[in-house]
């Protein structure tokens, strides 16, 4: 084998972390690594068994010959490293997925279309279940506070007083639903109403 497939997975983790993007699930390499573990494990079991045969059963755990010790330790370390790579790779992906769902305000329907082809079947189950448990947790607060809203930056305080020139109706803003009725005056975040200002539905009051 010219290149170590486990390195490919670690490289993918690093690249995905640096660019904050989810890469396609690498089922091929994952399967290869799992097969490698099985093969090494079989060798390990066999070498230990063959070393154990000459030992008389009465003696307390006979020490295998140095050559066997060396090979089996080597096998152990290889297995541990491969398992670790697999776990690092998969947990990294689950963490990425969590972050993406939070950025999509916990909406699986919003998130899935763009990333579905990138997921393993169990990752798909995971993100659906995660959305569910996050929604139940959010329900603890929702009548007063929507904890799904972004916390990336504290509020900047760019507020404007606006008057409604043309009837708008209900608009979803970062701070909740605002019912803009004609003639009404509202204090709103500038970013929430930029379009309505441009389109002439609202005007800034000084």
């Amino acid at each position: 084998m010219s290149t170590d497939p486990s390195q490919a997975l670690l490289l993918e983790c690093r690249r995905s972390a640096q660019t904050v993007t989810l890469l396609p699930y690498n089922a091929a390499v994952v399967t290869t690594l799992i097969r490698q573990i099985h093969t090494i494990h079989a060798h390990l079991v066999q070498s230990l068994r063959s070393a154990a045969i000459p030992g008389d059963e009465v003696g307390p755990t006979p020490t295998p010959p140095p050559a066997v010790m060396f090979t089996s330790t080597h096998h152990h370390l290889q297995i541990r490293r491969l398992k670790r790579v697999l776990l690092v790779y998969h947990s990294h992906r689950l963490n990425m997925l969590r972050g993406m769902l939070h950025r999509a305000h916990l909406s699986v329907t919003h998130l899935l279309p763009s990333i579905r082809p990138l997921l393993s079947p169990s990752e798909l189950t995971f993100i659906r279940s995660y959305a569910q448990i996050s929604m139940s947790y959010r329900a603890e607060f929702i009548d007063v506070l929507d904890i799904a809203a972004s916390v990336d930056e504290p509020p900047k305080g760019m507020w404007v007083n606006v008057r409604v020139v043309k009837e708008v109706g209900e608009v979803i803003t970062e701070g909740g639903v605002v019912d803009f009725r004609k003639g009404g005056r509202y204090l709103v975040r500038r970013g929430d109403v930029e379009m309505l200002l441009v389109q002439g539905y609202l005007e800034v009051v000084d």
Partner: protein, 246 residues
């Protein structure tokens, strides 16, 4: 919108605190409100709640482990936010004067600010809870620091996390390699734990007694002193409020 004080408050309790106290009368933002002694006391409490929330936020952000959930405080703040939101609704419906608009603006901005602070506090905890879910679930002392809702979150998360790893990884390995909670000979564990020895910045609110350092020496921490020091060494001082994380 349901009335905050009548909500089942059990989930706010972490076993030590009680239901949020009833929210104050929403008579605020009215210039003619009687400025009697009761009201001043109420104001003092309100100022205190936001300051306590700032402290809880800072502590949670700077501490390596999960701290005790401030259930009573969170309940109180939620009650205030709810009352203020209702009050604004009333003022808007009743038609507001120029001065009222000014006040509504300030009240809204403050709700926005305090709401963000509370969300950020909750989000900080949520991230730690998820990171350390298996560790927390295996450590009863940690669970007492969580609200009921947080405990549910941590339990469910560990379940779905492990289910996924079992299906994609360890379930496909030979039986004796399937564990998800091994500790390696070098001391590293598959289960992530908060690093209590992590260095943190503290600011002393008062003169503290000599602090015992890991090498057996002792350290004098004076009022207003700022130190970079292992969290484990000062954890008790932090809990007693003699020093603050910063």
């Amino acid at each position: 919108m349901s009335d905050w004080p009548t909500l089942p408050g059990g989930s706010w309790s972490n076993g030590h605190s009680h239901l949020p106290s009833p929210s104050p009368e929403p008579a605020a933002a009215d210039a003619d409100a009687d400025a009697d002694a009761d009201e001043l006391a109420l104001d003092a409490e309100r100022a205190d709640a936001v300051t306590l929330l700032v402290r809880a936020w800072t502590g949670e952000r700077c501490a390596p482990d999960v701290r005790a959930f401030e259930g009573e405080l969170v309940g109180r703040i939620m009650g205030y936010l709810d009352a203020q939101a209702k009050l604004i609704g009333v003022l808007k419906v009743d038609g507001a004067s120029e001065e009222d608009h000014e006040k509504i603006g300030l009240v809204q901005m403050e709700m926005d600010r305090v709401g963000w602070l509370l969300r950020s506090y909750i989000a900080t905890r949520q991230e730690k809870l998820i990171r350390y879910a298996p560790y927390i679930n295996a450590t009863p002392a940690m669970q007492t620091r969580l609200s009921v809702a947080e405990q549910t979150l941590v339990e469910s998360y560990q379940q779905i996390f492990e289910e996924s790893l079992i299906r994609d990884v360890v379930g496909n390995l030979p039986e004796e390699l399937q564990a998800l909670d091994e500790v390696l000979p070098d001391g590293r564990s598959m289960v992530s734990q908060p690093d209590l020895d992590k260095a943190v910045f503290i600011r002393a609110k008062q003169d503290c007694g000599p602090v015992l350092m890991p090498d057996g020496s002792s350290l004098e921490i004076k009022k207003r002193g700022i130190h970079l020091i292992s969290y484990r060494v000062v954890e008790q001082l932090v809990l007693r409020g003699e020093v603050e994380l910063t």
